[in-house]
C-alpha cells in the first residue's frame, strides 16, 4: 500500500510536469485587426502569409510593392496577434528577433508607440501593414481578413 502511494505521488508529479510542458491552448483570435494601406488591392492573407510578412521572410506584395511591416505597442492586441498569427507568445517572437539581431541577419520591424501611430503609418505608406486593437478606428485604412 505504501509503495502504491509513492507510485501514485510519482505519477501525479510526472503528470503535473507533463501538463506544464504541454502547449497552452491557443488564444481566441479576436482582440486585434490587421490593417493595410487603403490602396493595397489585397483583401485577405492566410495565417502563414501574415506570419512570414511580420517575420520579414516575405518582403513583397503580389504587385511587387515592398512590404513595410510595423509592430504595435505592448498590449493585449499584440499578444493576441502573436498567438493567433505566429502561434507563439509575443515574448517568443521577441526572442526570435534577438536571435536574428545577434546572428547579424537583420532587425525586427519598427515598433510604434500607439495604435494611432500604427494607423497613421499604414495610412501614409502604400506597402505598409500593421495590427491594432479591435476597438481602434480604422476608417482611413483597409482591414485585412486573416484566415487560418
Amino acid at each position: 500500500m505504501f509503495m502504491t502511494k509513492i507510485a501514485a505521488l510519482r505519477l501525479a508529479a510526472g503528470a503535473a510536469i507533463v501538463w506544464r510542458l504541454l502547449p497552452a491552448p491557443a488564444a481566441a483570435a479576436d482582440g486585434y485587426k490587421v490593417v493595410i494601406n487603403a490602396a493595397n488591392p489585397v483583401t485577405s492573407l492566410d495565417r502563414r502569409e501574415a506570419s512570414a510578412i511580420f517575420l520579414r521572410r516575405s518582403t513583397r506584395w503580389p504587385d511587387g510593392t515592398t512590404v513595410m511591416a510595423v509592430d504595435g505597442p505592448d498590449s493585449p492586441a499584440r499578444e493576441a496577434f502573436s498567438k493567433d498569427v505566429h502561434g507563439k507568445k509575443a515574448a517568443s517572437i521577441r526572442s526570435h528577433w534577438l536571435q536574428v539581431i545577434f546572428s547579424g541577419r537583420g532587425v525586427p520591424p519598427p515598433e510604434k508607440a500607439s495604435d494611432n501611430d500604427v494607423i497613421l503609418y499604414v495610412k501614409t505608406h502604400p506597402g505598409a501593414i500593421g495590427y491594432v486593437a479591435s476597438a481602434t478606428a480604422t476608417d482611413d485604412v483597409k482591414v485585412l481578413k486573416v484566415t487560418p
Binding site: 502547449p23 510595423v70 502561434g87 545577434f102 546572428s103
Partner: protein, 374 residues
C-alpha cells in the same frame, strides 16, 4: 585545390552578378521609420569552479574571469544595404588559450545588401552559418547553458566561428507550409591550433583554412520545428598535422533537428569532421522545459569521438563525454540567470595536460552566470 578555386570563383561571380543586378535599381534612402543606426550588445558574467582537474579554463579554486560580451552597431545606409560591426570579449578563466587570445576581438564586420525576394548577400567577416548555435554561440540570454555543447561547437582551440569572405542567404517558399532557408559561404578562416602531442595551446600557431560551405534549413508546418543539414570543405595550410608547406583537405558536415516550442525545446545535432586519416565525430541532445514563463529546466548530453588511422598513430576512442543539468531563470527575455552542473569525462582537460592517448579523466564543474542584452 583547383576544384575549390573554381567553386570560389563561381560563387564570387554569382555574388558579383547578383549585387550588380540589384544595384541597377536606384537605392532608396532608409524608410522614415527605419532606425539608421542601431546599437545592441550582450554580456554574460560567470563564476565557474571545478571539483578537480581543470577543464575549459575552470580551475578547482574557481574563477570569476569567465565572461562573454559584445557590442554591435548596425548602420542602415539605404533601405537595401547596411553595414554591421561587432566587437567582443571572451574570457575563459585559466585556459591556456588566454595567452594567445586578444583582449578585444572583432567578431564580425560586413556589408549587407538585400537583393530582393528574401535574398541577401554579406561581404566581410561573417559568422559561419553552421548548425543551430554557431552564429549566437556567445549570446548568453539566448542559450540554455553558458555555452552551446563544447563537444560539438568546440571551445578554445580549433574553433571556426567566423569567415572572411562572403555569404549568400536565400529564403524560399516563405508563404508555404514548408519553407527553406539556405546559406552559401566561401572564404578564409583562421584558428588557434594546439600541439598535437601535448594538446597545449600556449605557443601554438594559427592555422589558416580556405574553403566553402552551406547550410540548409527546412521549416515545417509545425511551428518551431525545423531540420537542418550543412557542411563545408576547406584546405588547411600551416597546420600542425602536416609538414610545412603541405596543404591538407578537410570536410565537415552537420545534421540538425531543432524543435523550439512554447513549453519546451528539443535540439539534437550530429556532425563529422574528416581529414586524411582522421575522423572526428560529435553529437549532443538538448532538452529544455519551460516549467513557468520564467523558469526553465535544461538537460544536455554530448560526446565526441576520434578515429585516427595514421602511419604513426592508431586510435578509435572517445575524446569527451559531458552530461549537464541546469536551471535558468529569465527575469525578462533580456536578463537571465543560470546555474548548471556538468559531469564531464574524457581527454579534454588542461590540468594536468593530457593527450588523446592518455587515460580518460573525469571531473564535475559548476557555472553560475548572469546574462543580459539590449
Amino acid at each position: 585545390m583547383k576544384l575549390i578555386r573554381r567553386e570560389l570563383l563561381g560563387l564570387f561571380l554569382g555574388l558579383t552578378a547578383g549585387t550588380r543586378a540589384a544595384a541597377e535599381a536606384p537605392a532608396a534612402p532608409p524608410a522614415e521609420n527605419e532606425r539608421k543606426l542601431e546599437v545592441h550588445g550582450f554580456l554574460s558574467q560567470a563564476f565557474a569552479i571545478s571539483d578537480g582537474y581543470q577543464v575549459l579554463g575552470i580551475p578547482s579554486e574557481g574563477t570569476f574571469d569567465y565572461r562573454t560580451a559584445a557590442l554591435q552597431l548596425r548602420a542602415t545606409l539605404t533601405a537595401k544595404d547596411s553595414i554591421v560591426i561587432q566587437v567582443g570579449q571572451a574570457r575563459l578563466g585559466e585556459s591556456p588559450i588566454m595567452a594567445v587570445r586578444n583582449e578585444i576581438d572583432l567578431d564580425w564586420i560586413f556589408y549587407e545588401r538585400q537583393l530582393g525576394a528574401g535574398t541577401s548577400v554579406r561581404v566581410g567577416r561573417i559568422k559561419i552559418p553552421f548548425g543551430i548555435y554557431n552564429e549566437i554561440r556567445f549570446v548568453g540570454p539566448l542559450l540554455p547553458f553558458f555555452r552551446p555543447a563544447d563537444a560539438f561547437y568546440g571551445e578554445g582551440s580549433y574553433v571556426f566561428s567566423s569567415i572572411n569572405g562572403a555569404a549568400l542567404s536565400k529564403s524560399l517558399f516563405a508563404r508555404h507550409r514548408f519553407s527553406v532557408d539556405a546559406d552559401l559561404y566561401a572564404g578564409e578562416w583562421s584558428f588557434v591550433q594546439g600541439d598535437p602531442e601535448l594538446q597545449q595551446i600556449a605557443g601554438a600557431t594559427r592555422a589558416r583554412a580556405r574553403g566553402l560551405g552551406g547550410q540548409l534549413w527546412l521549416n515545417t508546418p509545425l511551428d518551431g520545428l525545423r531540420f537542418g543539414v550543412g557542411g563545408d570543405r576547406s584546405t588547411w595550410s600551416n597546420s600542425v598535422e602536416a609538414p610545412p608547406g603541405v596543404k591538407v583537405r578537410h570536410k565537415r558536415w552537420v545534421a540538425s533537428v531543432d524543435g523550439n516550442f512554447e513549453r519546451f525545446r528539443l535540439s539534437a545535432e550530429l556532425g563529422e569532421h574528416t581529414s586524411p586519416g582522421v575522423l572526428f565525430a560529435s553529437s549532443y541532445v538538448l532538452v529544455s522545459g519551460h516549467v513557468t514563463d520564467k523558469l526553465s529546466v535544461n538537460l544536455q548530453a554530448s560526446r565526441s569521438h576520434v578515429k585516427l588511422d595514421l602511419v604513426l598513430a592508431q586510435l578509435d576512442d572517445e575524446i569527451g563525454r559531458d552530461y549537464a543539468a541546469g536551471l535558468s531563470y529569465a527575469f525578462r527575455p533580456d536578463l537571465v540567470a543560470k546555474v548548471e552542473n556538468h559531469w564531464t569525462r574524457g581527454r579534454n582537460f588542461e590540468e594536468p595536460g593530457v593527450t588523446i592517448f592518455s587515460p580518460a579523466l573525469s571531473a564535475d564543474y559548476v557555472i553560475l552566470s548572469l546574462s543580459a542584452l539590449f
